[in-house]
């Protein structure tokens, strides 16, 4: 099980790895300063020159960049190489604002592919595996990213894309897919459809691994997926600004390995911008170390996580981030209290009588915020007794209140009525903003 794609790099002693990061950080800072008016201006405003960056800890002197900068410089104002270097564009969907464009040199694509080759190898995939890519192909980075990574390690790729769920299941059986990459909510839906077709993922397919990401998901969802289908579910992380999906957990499922030769990560207090203590939750901030058409300097991704710098038992020395706990921008403020959809999910999935799908509706009644959580009643839990249903809904409300410290109304709905998504699930409908 202890397989490495690039053992020399993946198990590099920490001091060597830091030296490598330091060299690369110096290079990238000089590079962006030489090639980009945007960064020159930012550095000037922050009163920092490339020569000031000598040690790794000097990264704290550099100014932050944000999604807003990307939007303000739309489409390619933050690129650091001219267009003839760029071999590909990806464009984010822009569901939370203007779309953002990222560009790649051939080297950038190779770095991305190599990052995923290491990751997929670390979960035991390789030659002989059939990897069904159920992420969207096209402008979204998920499909093509996984596709290249899977080919690189010699696996067979089944480039399904999203949707067409019955076909996904048929081909999974006919071509013997051993792994699938898609959003966790879509995989739950695939399992639901398979059951309706009379097919058991556990007994009637060769699927053994799921690579799930592109939306925050909880440890409880992992357990539910693994118990229901017998596969191992791994978390994958990466954002379009960083390239796309890049990193996964190793087979030990204990944090996502961030390749330190490619990315320098910091976890900071979102309010003060100061580094949080070891084991504390904060906002992920990344600096790219080997990405050139569109490098990032201290880019605030907005994902909340915990950094673990201790080398992993798998032998890899690179830092790990724990499961993404939510995003700074999908945090809901309900009656002054911070609520993350991932918290709601972890409560719901501990209650077996309700389904995996849920939706959070937020509205304002008079001066008061009202949060309603819609959950589906499973057939096993439905007994004909109204009192059982009432106590189920009370129990869900009580558990939510305990964890969130804010009360929520619970609405029991019929199975299959919460919209299933083939990509990122829409878990929150906030009517207050309309």
């Amino acid at each position: 099980m202890f397989r490495y794609w690039n053992p020399h790099i993946e198990r590099m002693p920490l001091t060597d790895l830091e030296k490598l990061q330091e060299d690369r950080l110096r290079s990238v800072v000089r590079f962006v300063s030489a090639h980009s008016a945007f960064y020159r201006q930012r550095f000037a405003e922050a009163g920092v020159a490339p020569e000031d960056i000598t040690k790794l800890s000097d990264v704290a002197k550099l100014p932050f960049t944000t999604k807003l900068d990307l939007r303000n410089t739309y489409p390619t104002g933050m690129f650091c190489l001219p267009g003839d270097w760029v071999v590909r564009y990806h464009v984010s969907s822009g569901t939370t604002g203007k779309p953002t464009v990222v560009g790649y040199t051939q080297g950038d694509i190779d770095m991305w592919t190599d990052s995923l080759a290491r990751a997929l190898t670390s979960i035991g995939l390789g030659r002989g595996d059939v990897i069904q890519v159920g992420y969207g192909y096209g402008l979204f980075t998920g499909g093509l990213g996984l596709h290249y990574g899977a080919e690189k390690i010699g696996a067979t790729v089944l480039p399904m894309g999203t949707g067409n769920t019955e076909r996904q299941i048929e081909l999974m059986q006919d071509l013997g897919s051993t792994a699938i990459a898609c959003t966790p909510s879509y995989f739950l839906y695939i399992n639901e459809v398979a059951q309706q077709m009379g097919i058991s993922i556990r007994d009637d397919t060769k699927l053994k691994v799921g690579v799930f990401g592109a939306e925050p998901w909880s440890e409880e969802t992992r357990k539910r997926i693994e118990d229901a289908t017998g596969i191992k579910a791994y978390d994958i992380f990466g954002t379009s600004e960083m390239s796309g999906p890049l990193f996964t957990e190793c087979h030990l499922q204990n944090g996502i390995h961030i390749w330190a030769d490619y990315f320098l990560v910091e976890v900071l207090d979102p309010k003060t911008g100061e580094q949080v203590g070891e084991g504390e939750r904060g906002e992920l901030v990344v600096t790219t170390l080997d990405k050139w058409a569109f490098p990032l300097i201290r880019y605030r991704i907005g994902d909340l996580t915990i950094l673990n710098t201790a080398p992993c038992e798998c032998g890899r020395t690179h830092p790990r981030i724990m499961r993404i706990l939510g995003r700074t921008d999908d945090m809901l403020i309900i009656r002054g209290i911070n609520v993350f959809p991932s918290q709601v999910e972890s409560v719901l999935l501990r209650i077996p009588e309700i389904g995996e799908q849920y939706q959070i509706m937020v509205d304002r009644k008079g001066p008061l915020d009202v949060m309603t959580v819609k959950v589906e009643v499973t057939e096993q839990a439905f007994s004909d007794k109204i009192s059982d249903l009432m106590s189920l809904s009370n129990r869900v409300a009580k558990e939510l209140q305990k964890v969130l410290n804010v009360s929520a109304e619970v609405e029991l709905v019929e199975q299959g009525t919460i919209p299933r998504s083939v990509g990122k699930a829409q878990r929150v409908i906030d009517k207050r903003k309309v």
Binding site: D384, I386, L412, V413, Q415
Partner: protein
């Protein structure tokens, strides 16, 4: 055992939900003998006795509805004042609790029937039959 199967369906309290249930049964040629809706705010439970329970249960499930089957008694009521009292008193005297009940009249058989959900179906059957109350069987309900 004279208990018959009732179909219960979980439905949201929204326009069109009942229509969906009724159409599913109608398309399958399943005839509803008796029906009641219990509502509890956002949701409700439709309870019904149909002529072909297996088929009704199956087609509703295939439509993705949340369905369960429950044992109930179909008790024949005398069509005279005090008919219901007699049954309720017998059960009460024997400390058997009625969870819910709903009645229907059949034109063809010229009888009134009470669908009864009790906490102890076996004892309820015994004490009712001992007082001469007729309890309809599955076949009778089907033939009505």
């Amino acid at each position: 055992m004279v208990a018959i199967k009732q179909i219960s369906i979980f439905v949201e309290n929204k326009p069109g939900r009942m229509a969906r249930v009724a159409k599913t049964l109608s398309d399958a040629g399943v005839n509803i003998r008796a029906l009641t809706i219990a509502e509890a705010g956002d949701f409700g439970v439709i309870r019904m006795v149909v002529d072909d329970t297996e088929k009704g249960y199956q087609v509703l499930r295939e439509k993705g509805l949340t369905v369960s089957e429950t044992d109930v008694l179909a008790v024949e009521l005398k069509d005279v004042p005090g008919g219901l009292y007699e049954i309720a008193k017998t059960l009460g005297d024997h400390a058997i609790n009625m969870d819910y009940a709903y009645a229907f009249v059949t034109a063809k058989a010229e009888r009134a029937m009470l669908i009864l959900r009790v906490d102890d179906i076996k004892r309820a059957t015994e004490v009712l039959q001992a007082t001469g109350v007729r309890i309809a069987t599955r076949e009778e309900i089907q033939r009505l």
